[in-house]
């Protein structure tokens, strides 16, 4: 695949390195000449100097034949515009933008950026995964359907312990997929399944009723 990366900072550099190791054709577009030079010294001539939002630079980079376009500068507006140029002017099939402000995720989606990576959210997700007291973990997002796959832990003191699933008011459009119980095989939940303390429930829920799902499963 031919992959263009805008921004030769740490993210861009290590991304390029990883992609080169997987034998992809990679080009980095970077404005700062000193950074360009050091990338070319370390990774071979894969960095071109220029503004990744400018048509002339993008033409020179051969954006028209790129399979993927990834914008990872430290500036949200640059990443947005670079991806939009790639998408609308050069018809690149896959565009990925890094975002700093998690609130911009919705805007980028609306504007047709295929994938957004928000480091703030990624770190938050890891924190919630690592902190066992946190009742809900995001496992996956099914973006085009507006669904989330989440894990809810039934912690001590939850009012739902000892209750059957049919007695909980789960949000519409959600579904419990599997219950993981210590020392047992995973259980496929049925309406009569009773929740135990320490259960891990994997559920699919519409993004907007995530909170309702959590409350329902913990019996609040």
């Amino acid at each position: 695949m031919y992959i263009i990366i805008v921004g030769g900072g740490r993210v861009g550099f290590y991304l390029a390195k990883g992609l080169l190791e997987e034998n992809h054709e990679v080009l980095i577009i970077e404005q700062n000449p000193a950074i360009c030079e050091s990338i070319n010294d370390e990774l071979g001539s894969i960095c071109t100097r220029g503004d990744g939002c400018e048509v002339a630079t993008l033409v020179e980079a051969g954006t028209g034949r790129a399979d993927m376009f990834v914008a990872v500068t430290g500036e949200d507006p640059h990443n947005l515009v670079a991806c939009q140029m790639a998408k609308h002017k050069f018809k690149v099939p896959h565009t990925i933008a890094r975002i700093k402000n998690p609130k911009n995720e919705g805007l980028y989606k609306t504007l047709g950026i295929d994938v957004t990576i928000c480091s703030t959210n990624v770190i938050l997700e890891h924190i919630t995964e690592e902190v066992p007291t946190h009742p809900m973990t995001h496992l996956m997002q099914i973006r085009d359907r507006g669904l989330e796959v989440v894990e809810v832990r039934i912690s001590a003191g939850s009012a739902s312990i000892g209750k059957a699933l049919k007695d909980l008011s789960l949000p519409a459009g959600s579904m419990l997929s599997v219950i993981i119980r210590k020392g047992q095989k995973p259980i496929v939940p049925v309406p009569s399944t009773v929740l135990n303390e320490g259960d891990q429930v994997i559920a699919v829920t519409p993004s907007e009723t995530e909170e309702a799902m959590r409350s329902a499963l913990r019996g609040q």
Partner: protein, 133 residues
């Protein structure tokens, strides 16, 4: 009387805000640097707000949900583009105008449905006409 938000108290932004305010419009001007508000006319009666126009919270504080016109005139093309698209697609502001210095970028965003102005193209045309006499 229209409710107008201007993002960027540049020379153009400051002057435009003062002109619209003098005509009786309800103007809110935003800039990330309070020092740039010195460019507003002493009679300016509108609101001058320190805030970043690419931040949805700041835009809400500026009253974007009730605004009828949003004008993006910071020095950065990309910032203007992002703010204008936010105003148009997230806050559904009826009229959004965006300054884009780069003529090629301006053309692309115009075809994508933004109302854009490139001072570069306009000024170059004017100068050329002057020279042609």
């Amino acid at each position: 009387m229209k409710r107008i938000i201007i993002m960027g108290c540049s020379r153009v932004g400051g002057r435009l805000a003062s002109l619209l305010d003098a005509e009786g419009h309800k103007v809110t001007i935003m800039d990330t640097d309070a020092y740039s508000f010195r460019r507003l006319s002493p009679d300016f009666k509108g609101k001058a707000l320190v805030g970043n126009g690419i931040d949805q919270e700041s835009l809400k504080k500026a009253g974007i949900e009730e605004a009828e016109v949003f004008i993006a005139v910071t020095q950065g093309d990309n910032r203007n583009i992002m703010a204008a698209q936010m105003a148009k697609h997230i806050f559904n502001v009826p009229r959004v105008i965006c300054r884009i210095y780069d003529p090629l970028r301006q053309e692309i965003y115009q075809t994508l449905g933004l109302e854009t102005i490139s001072p570069t193209t306009i000024f170059a045309d004017i100068l050329k006409k002057q020279v042609d006499g």
